[in-house]
């Protein structure tokens, strides 16, 4: 039986063999692998890209104090971006399941409609949830728009829910019983995380501090975006990537405030709009940085 980390290794190898860069996770709190710049920014523009990485994904409101066998505040996604999408992408994907030891002839695979939309990112795509013997194991999306921009090359995003897949492979009923490495269970590695962050996110996070922090990061991001907009030429060294990190901070703080019950109904739409404005601003700056208008071409 493969351990959790064995399965991760195999998936990474599989996609590395198909030309993907194996990246490490983005080192900030994000809600999904999609939000890491390796996806959110790289899907923009005309440059082909292939990348795979595990992204620990934090969703404060989904925390259950480590008491629910299937729900986690932080879960691990294996994210694959293939840009542009190869014609045989679904065959390649099915091959990855074989690679981690799923004999497809003995199982039942279905692709069920599931379109994806992230209003805070101005992003959406068309796709499926992939069902294996009735279990959703993967979200497959053809990205159509990101940061409010129509994509030049349509990337395929494959997001494996690692805990679910490995619990399936190891035939355990609770994610906490997954063997992460020989001698170490998932609970040994992550249970304290779930308990403590659930308490913090739901009960103890300092709301005033979070609002202040939100505003500081928002201001910083906006300041950079304004500077970028005022710029003529020489885009290459401009800190668009740091601006995006500021937007990600805001997004995570928003989630925290939300799980803390600190955002009223009337505020909510407004705050989502503020995060979206930053994300969309960064996306358009990045797109411009990647492909500056002809008359503004910079010296390489």
């Amino acid at each position: 039986m493969d351990s959790f980390q064995d399965t991760v290794f195999k998936l990474k190898h599989y996609w590395a063999d198909r030309g993907a860069i194996i990246q490490e996770p983005h080192d900030l709190e994000v809600g999904a692998g999609t939000m890491a710049p390796e996806t959110f920014l790289r899907v923009l523009g005309p440059k082909p890209y292939k990348v795979a990485y595990v992204q620990p994904s934090r969703r404060p409101a989904d925390g259950r104090y480590g008491e629910n066998p299937n729900r986690l505040y932080k879960h691990q996604q294996l994210q694959v971006i293939l840009k542009p999408t190869p014609d045989d992408v679904l065959e390649q994907y099915l091959g990855s399941l074989e690679a981690i030891g799923i004999d497809l002839r003995k199982h039942d695979i279905k692709f069920e409609e599931d379109n994806w939309e992230a209003p805070t990112l101005g992003a959406w795509g068309i796709g499926w949830q992939v069902m294996l013997d009735g279990l959703e194991i993967t979200q497959f999306t053809y990205f159509q728009q990101c940061g409010g921009i129509d994509l030049d090359l349509v990337p395929a995003e494959i997001t494996y829910g690692l805990e679910r897949i490995v619990a399936f492979l190891q035939n355990v009923n609770s994610v906490y019983d997954i063997e992460w490495a020989p001698g170490f269970k998932y609970s040994d590695v992550r249970l304290a995380d779930e308990q403590q962050f659930s308490v913090y996110n739901f009960e103890m996070a300092d709301v005033d501090m979070l609002w202040k922090e939100f505003e500081l990061h928002e201001k910083e991001c906006q300041r950079l975006l304004d500077l970028f907009r005022a710029k003529k030429g020489d885009y290459v060294r401009f800190p668009v990537l740091p601006a995006y990190d500021q937007a990600l901070k805001c997004s995570n703080i928003f989630n925290l405030l939300d799980s803390r019950g600190a955002i009223s109904v009337t505020e909510r739409v407004g705050v989502i709009g503020r995060v979206r404005k930053l994300a969309v601003g960064v996306a358009s700056a990045w797109a411009k940085q990647q492909a500056p208008p002809a008359e503004e071409k910079v010296v390489a």
Binding site: E67, K106, I109, V154, N173, G261
Partner: protein, 661 residues
Amino acid sequence: MPNFLLEIGVEEIPDWMIEPALADLHKRFAEAFVAFGGSSITTDATPRRLVLQARDLIGQAPDVEAVVQGPYLSAGQKAAEGFAKKQNTTIDKLAKITDAKGERYVSHQLVKGQAAAHALAEKLPEIIKNITFPKTMYWTGKGGVKFIRPIRWIVALLDDQIIPFEIAGVKSGNLTRGHRILGSKAPIFVTIDTYVAALRANFVIVSADERKARIEKALVNGVEKDEDLLKTLVYLTEFPTPFRGSFDKSYLELPKEILSTVMRHHQRYFSVMQPDGSLAPEFVAVTNTDSDPEGLIRQGNERVLRARFNDARFFWQVDQQKKLSDRVADLEKVTFQAKLGSYKAKTERVRTLAQEIAKALGADQKTVDRAALLAKTDLTTDMVKEFTELQGAVGGLYAKAQGESDGVSTAIYDHYQPVSMEAAIPRTLEGQVVSLADKLDTLRECFRVDMIPTGSKDPFALRRSAQGIVKILFDAKLPLDLKEYVAETPALQPFMQERIETYLKDSRGYAYDEVNAVMAAGFTTLPDLAERVEAIHSVRPTDNFEPLAASFKRIKNILKQAQLAKANPPKPELLAAGPEQDLYQAFLKVRAATQAAAVYREKLAQIASLRPHVDLFFDKILVNDPDPAIRENRLALLHSLLTEFSTIADFSEIVTQGEAK
């Protein structure tokens, strides 16, 4: 007579879009190739292919003679020569015709009929690209072809000949693909004759009917009927194989609603019932494969279901730690609608409204108020956050478990009902009141901030809310004066009126003119309206009714021409003996009789008995008497007739046989 086969190979199409797409493809094909006849066009599909077959096409469309209009003779020799040259002929061979502007040249050209093969190659790409889907995507890059999912192969054969064309870089050919897992990994060569068999050998059953039959074989011995789920599964599979699984009996302690929802909506399983009507610890699932030799698929599905049920049980337990009554304040954090604030605010409004309605209808006010207070609190529970379709039901179940009265829990349980025109209305008067108040509030508030449905856009499902109100009032015969509740929202009045008309026509089956007639007479309560339209409907076939309706129309026109909107009662002393006096006497008698009659049918029968008197009046009497006083008095008589007897229905709206198209 050649046969034609088209297979559009696509990545998995959402099941619910497939049948409409086939209908659209069928229509577009039939329209585009009408010149090629054909004995039959049939379509079929699996999730990965849309298939169209046309039999016995004409290989070559017949030639058609076309007349090409040329220049007028007056335009001179040069123009004529140019035209002739363009038509590949000489002036002397051109014909001449004369039209309104003079004599002109025309050229008779034989337009060669297209070969079927040529026409297909030319038109198919557009037909395919234009198939309508609710949502499409592009995949080859910005500006590329849009379709429901990427097109990966195309088979297009006219007998054994490939019809060549290309869409999004995919060239048509004679190669198809089998089942993703069980079929050949290499493309499969097919001819029109081998197509179905070749796919079957590769574990694809092209016929949806056949796949359905394969699934239905397992839907016996207590399996709950579910046509929608069946259809979904037919279009989610290429080679469906059902199996029966089971779950631990201990889960049966959870309410049936929750277990069935988990099975149906989340796992697409059929529920199984015991002979006594309770749920059996079993389910039927449908796989997209041929067998489950090691039982892995069944075990996998059972494990997923167990986890889902554990979730549900966990949610139930956690949710009980905070009673619904302690969750009212939490509704502050649940958005009803961005512009309209929280569910807390909505709850307060609904409570007030529900009290008014409860008073008007004589419902138990305490029960209604308690139910209205708690109705939305289940939105804060983990159970509803996970299984949103169970809103209401979960509230009702929790209320019961937490010791609320049966009246309260049932009202909460039912208050989203009816969710469609076919669905049942809330079972109790109190449930009906809460449902009415909830829906009325939604409508009033949305209309107040101009969120009014237009065309097909109705994001808040306001039509459904309005239909729900109408259905409850009609079906439960509630004497509520709806107008009082929509008075402050002018745009809502015609909106509700439309729903009422639709309900009477579509759900009750009344003719449109019967509905128009009663609506034109106005209404206070819907049960009264229902009685009136039923009375009209039942009296209509009697001898006197339609002729009388025609007479009323005539009266209305006469009064309209005379511009008489108001009138005093007729003066009996001015009425001439004979038909005029006779009509007046009949009027008095019928008026008294209708006032005395207990039901509308009787009243209408009385009114219909006026017919011979009215007929005789029009036969013998000239309304436009030279003496203005007499004329006025006759108009007054007609006016009395019209106003007195138009309160049940405006008979002039009835389309009589003479008028019918």
